[in-house]
Symmetry: C2
């Protein structure tokens, strides 16, 4: 029955609260999970539209962020600097279909399209949401003196490679953060 | 400087990840925090629009849910069955103003209006979002055989008093859940 399937799926979503990321929220000593990260990113979508280099539908960008990590319930988080990152989207697409399998067709379509739009990273809202997804670990790492970078041996060049889009989408913020990140790695 | 104030506020929002609720997510053994709850509720807004007794703007309802607990960063969560619940809105309004104090004026206005709309509980989206806020602990408690109700000595009448709006807004879901809740309390 459709209503029961949706209620079951709501409890399935609890699984994202158990998916651990590599970053530690500021002022905390435990790692972040992907559910609270998804809330945080959607709030950032509300907060940073003025800083975006192009016009965006803030509400739609927030929805993309809410949905972007849901497949991790099935396949876990892939660290952005891990080699497995290359085929993460394929594994996530498969995991998503399994998670959505019992839901009504129009709900599946709606959720799948949100995830696909974020992952394709082509629309203004998807480019904005992806830039936010890059921004947040930078803020967390800077707030903990590079804790996550040190723990995982991340190098400055890796960060700069992965933040090209952040610089294009949120240029003013990148202009503030880039020197701080460079200072961290130069030991200044 | 405005951009720096927004970046600081993004880290302030991390505080919601440290606010503990009384409920335990399904399949987990720790309590939920208000940040992951806010993500979950916004997802429910996407999922349950078909079940709502009236038409709602799903994206707007999701935003209301994203913002509704932010004042707890300043004043903590108030258990729905606690006597302090009576003046929670006043404490939260004051806490919110302190949190927002350094942000640009239009951002303050936007965030404050979202919180006020949720709390006033008058618009269709606010009524829907408030009903979801009641629904979620019921689902969690049922998934843990009433764990939160047992721990806090909650009685059936208290639940029924607090779920009148849930029954009005999501009648089909309430028709499914009410007998399960009554069965729990009758020991069936």
């Amino acid at each position: 029955m459709n209503t029961q399937a949706v209620l079951d799926f709501i409890l399935t979503l609890d699984g994202l609260k158990a998916v651990e990321r590599r970053t530690v929220p500021s002022g905390m000593s435990r790692r972040e999970n992907s559910a609270e990260h998804s809330w945080h990113g959607a709030m950032c979508a509300l907060l940073l539209a003025d800083e975006c280099a192009f016009a965006v539908d803030v509400k739609h960008a927030a929805l993309l962020f809410l949905m972007h990590d849901v497949p991790e319930i099935g396949c876990g988080d892939t660290f952005i600097y891990a080699p497995e990152r290359e085929d993460a989207a394929q594994r996530e697409a498969a995991a998503l279909e399994l998670l959505l399998a019992t839901l009504p067709g129009h709900t599946v379509k709606n959720l799948r399209e949100l995830w696909q739009e974020f992952t394709a990273n082509q629309t203004p809202e998807a480019r904005y949401a992806n830039a936010l997804d890059r921004l947040m670990p930078l803020l967390h790492n800077l707030s903990h003196d590079g804790l996550g970078w040190r723990e995982h041996g991340v190098r400055l060049e890796q960060i700069l490679e992965r933040t090209v889009q952040l610089g294009e989408v949120l240029p003013k913020i990148w202009a503030i953060l880039r020197p701080r990140i460079e200072n961290h790695f130069s030991g200044a």
